[in-house]
Symmetry: C2
Subunit: 593 residues, 2 copies
């Protein structure tokens, strides 16, 4: 065996390199080099997402039959040149759907006051804090301790002329005159973190930025992160720290883009799912991992920015939305806030499709909310050729008039994989074209059907296939969601026909083809005009709450209106779920009993 | 020159040893070894306090004429055995005067509630925080985030039966049933930190402990610490950190003594002078260092315990008293709280004698407060044979009937130096015996008068002398204090004859001989029965505020009643000061004009 030794690893096409540490996997080296390889399983060697080609040099372990290597299982034995597989690259998501900033109505929580103070003298030796509060003449009573740490120097540097920022009776920050008050809104997703820098006075978006959640390294989904937090002695603090680091990077990049300092950020709002918010706040998650899946804390909280790893204005606080239940979190409340204006007469079904799909039925004063463990398939995760929505991803699949399968890729590049909307379309198209049975089985005698690893698969182009396992994964996801909808309607004493509208939120939901979703039975078959795709409503809700105290209060009201329904407690859920596995719009029309 | 090398340094009689780092002074080695050498000048080689004898081995630098070495200037050149000079040892102060716990009337801010919760179920999946608050049935509305971090695990470990501690509407901690609520009161002095562990329900003192303020390493007095904070790039954070470490050690030792965990401490109150409180809170001190000497923040503050380096119960907060001015701080407010009951009819003069002497005149609704830079002489600092009040310190000096000078040492040990009360007595006795003139000059032709470093000195025993410089230092101290009293009376339109009482607080004030103090003119010559020594009133005030919301509120009222009078702003202060240099009770009877 070769003695452990440090080797230089160059990532071809990425313009990055790093030295491999002793016994360090290529995945870990890539992370250190800033090359973001996908690793849905958290580097455990099971998902096969982190594929690389060894262009030059020798590695130990990780070899696959087809000549690729799993980066998480490979270790350098010499200097290397390594080329990541295109679909292994964790490219940024397509820009979020530009959810309507028009809904943002500023009702500022932070007020700016320009002040000219009398300098301190021996005859008037009031402390600097008192002098400031006196100048605010009753509009403020308290100076935040963090702001007090910067006041004395600022007063003397700025010749006693400063701007004070106040929230309620508390001065939270002091700055040179004319400093523009900015805020940070964050949609803290399990996979991606989206951040927005916002002018607190106008509500205008100053900059927007997306980032992979660095917790992904510890597992792709919520459950694997909870497991990490519970099993590893330092797991929870570690996940908290990296989430904070992600937020800090996001804030830094947003501010660099806008040409301002992070200390110009006076307020922040973060919406994430219950587990993300718990991990970020250092709250225990063990009890989230098993029935009855209860949060440690569901109320909205305001914490000093430093508590979540952010170095903003001295007295800046971070608001996190209330959680509804163990798997319906603050991001769902943010989504509800964003779509509140759309909840008109009649019952509204609102869902955010992801690894966990949160669904609410808004019907009169009550909102009933559920969470469905839909898995990553609909986002292209754990799919053999699944990938993020980057160039070369098949995003649309259809049946041509001649009965063959057509498709389109992002950027019209040669196909390298399928993103979420492509997977959904593909399954719908295959079912329509008769390539697969309504039960999901691939028909054996079709020219596009090939063998992959001793299992059937449908070939789209070159190496890009959809396997039998991929189709099963889509079926399981759609059955979980649709069975959830069935139980939600039942709990409210409603039927699909009663739905006045369906609101599909989220990055994935923004891109799916509604016809495909209805065709395979993911969504109820109601009038298409009643089904609306609203994009990243959680991000919009966070921005609304950032600039408006009234909106923040409304979010609190919405959270309190929600009643969490735990599907694990429904005795007949399994029956409905099994019935909903079929790939057609009309199965299990009968409601759960 | 010898190459830098690590050597083993053994401290004789201390049972301690350590390796000397490269270019590390013996003072620094001693600190690391846990041997607390005095270093009034902060290790700059000017005070000569850190004297050691090199018993075995070779050193470089620091040699003095008399065979001793300054530890701060000496570096090991071989393995060493070193013996600290007895009066160089920073021994703990004599136990504080046991100020009257009878004044402590509990009016608890923290309330304990024993609860038995219903376990969470799928049908009742309320979050743990909500379940707790619901069980408190309206008595609490908020669960502190830090407490929330411990709640979920505790509930499940304790079979859903716990004790919740509430302050106002906020649950600040949760613990197993029957956990006794404890609090920490601290008198944060420039030189010493005194800590008390207190039962919050009964007010009983569970443990008491003193510790040298570890900031002493960066300078003995407030001004040298401010200088360090301003001049060194990391000076402020460094002073903040070591103060926090001192508090943490104190809490640990108190809890170890009481056999409890520090997480049993639910609340804390700290009183320190303005600079100490600023440094502890990370507030800027630059503006405290020059006229008009204004605090950054004077209001009382409540901060999470972690802000001051303490790891107490999860949601524990620390209350710091309001400051009155740049050099009249929270410890003075604590003192006023402790002596409030003694402020009867007529004008009360209350003073806490130390390196800075804070004095208040309580006369009707207004309290006028001043600070006098009296220097360390009255505490035995910067005095050639000055030392702490440890065994062998001369603590009493008198004139025998035959006109000779008599004295007594602590523990009846052979004299090794003089502590503060001994210095004061000695000067008074020398003046009475005619050994020194009222102007302070040593009479040349007395058998006890010797030469020390080409200057006159009065020999008490063996090596123990009082030098001309020492007498000058006492004169300067007493003049500063007495001139301050003069101006305070003048500002209030009062004379010495109007004083109904004088209250002398503080560790030093508890031990001085009032006759000596009056004899040299340190204190006004009023009826002795009207002069009261009350011991560590600041510590008592901190304990009172710890266990009582009403007392804390009264402290706030007292602070607001105080008007800070800056002596630096008094044009005729210098004249009064010079007149008050004479060592007799009656000089400058005329008030300042």
């Amino acid at each position: 065996m070769t003695k452990p030794h440090r080797h230089r690893v160059t990532f071809a096409g990425q313009n990055r390199e790093a030295e491999s540490g002793e016994a360090e996997s290529l995945l870990a080296v890539a992370r250190r080099a800033g090359v973001r390889l996908l690793a849905s399983c958290g580097g455990r060697g099971t998902c096969g997402a982190c594929r690389v080609k060894i262009v030059l040099g020798e590695v130990h372990g990780g070899a696959e039959d087809d000549g690729w290597h799993k980066a998480c299982r490979s270790h350098a034995r010499s200097d290397l040149v390594v080329e990541p597989a295109p679909r292994s690259m964790a490219a940024p998501e397509r820009a979020d759907v530009d959810s309507r900033d028009a809904d943002i109505a500023p009702d500022p929580l932070i007020h700016a006051h320009d002040l000219a103070l009398e300098p301190a003298t021996v005859e008037d030796p009031r402390d600097d804090a008192r002098r400031l509060l006196d100048a605010l003449a009753g509009r403020a009573e308290i100076l935040d301790l963090e702001a007090a740490r910067t006041l004395s120097g600022l007063l003397r540097d700025q010749d006693w002329q400063i701007r004070a920022f106040r929230r309620g009776p508390t001065v939270i920050a002091v700055a040179p005159r004319h400093t523009r008050p900015l805020g940070l809104a964050v949609d803290l997703g399990t996979t991606n973190i989206a951040g927005y820098l916002v002018d607190l006075e106008t509500g205008a978006r100053v900059a927007a930025r997306g980032l992979e959640n660095p917790q992904t390294f510890f597992g792709a989904d919520v459950v694997s992160r909870i497991t990490h937090a519970v099993r590893e002695p330092e797991g929870g603090p570690e996940l908290r720290r990296v989430a904070g680091e992600g937020l800090a990077v996001l804030a830094r990049e947003l501010c660099a883009h806008a040409g301002v300092s992070e200390t110009a950020i006076l307020d922040a709002v973060i919406g994430g799912n219950t587990a993300m918010q718990h991990l970020l706040l250092g709250l225990p998650v063990k009890q989230l991992g098993h029935a009855p899946f209860v949060p440690a804390l569901s109320d909205a909280v305001d914490v000093p920015a430093a508590e979540v790893g952010l170095a903003l204005a001295p007295g800046a606080r971070v608001h996190l939305f209330a959680n509804v239940g163990g798997f319906v979190g603050g991001d769902h409340v943010a989504m509800l806030l964003a779509i509140e204006k759309r909840m008109g007469q009649g019952a509204t079904l609102a869902l955010d499709i992801g690894t966990n799909t949160e669904i609410s039925l808004i019907d009169g004063p009550e909102i009933v909310s559920i969470s469905c463990p839909s898995g990553p398939a609909l986002e292209g995760g754990h799919i053999m050729c699944g990938m993020r929505a980057a160039n070369g991803a098949i995003e649309r699949v259809w049946v041509e008039e001649n009965g063959t399968i057509g498709f389109a890729t992002i950027g019209n590049q040669p196909a390298v994989g399928l993103c979420g909307s492509g997977i959904l379309d593909a399954v719908a198209a295959f079912a329509k074209a008769g390539l697969i049975e309504p039960g999901g089985r691939i028909q054996p005698h079709h020219p596009q059907v090939v063998e992959r690893r001793h299992k059937k698969a449908i070939r789209l182009e070159g190496e890009v296939v959809v396997t039998q396992d991929d189709i099963r994964a889509v079926q399981l996801a759609k059955a979980a969601i649709r069975a959830g909808i069935d139980h939600l309607l039942k709990a409210a004493g409603r039927t699909e026909g009663d739905l006045a509208r369906i609101i599909v939120a989220g990055a994935f939901g923004a891109y799916i083809d509604i016809e495909s979703a209805v065709a395979i039975g993911l969504l109820p078959d109601i009038l298409r005009a009643r089904i609306v795709q609203v994009g990243n409503a959680a991000g919009l809700g966070a921005r609304m709450a950032l600039v408006s105290g009234a909106a923040r209060a409304r979010a609190g009201v919405l959270a309190r209106r929600c009643r969490y329904l735990e599907l694990a407690g429904q005795p007949d859920f399994q029956t409905t779920y099994l019935a909903r596995l079929r790939l057609d719009p009309n199965t299990a029309r009968k409601e759960p009993t």
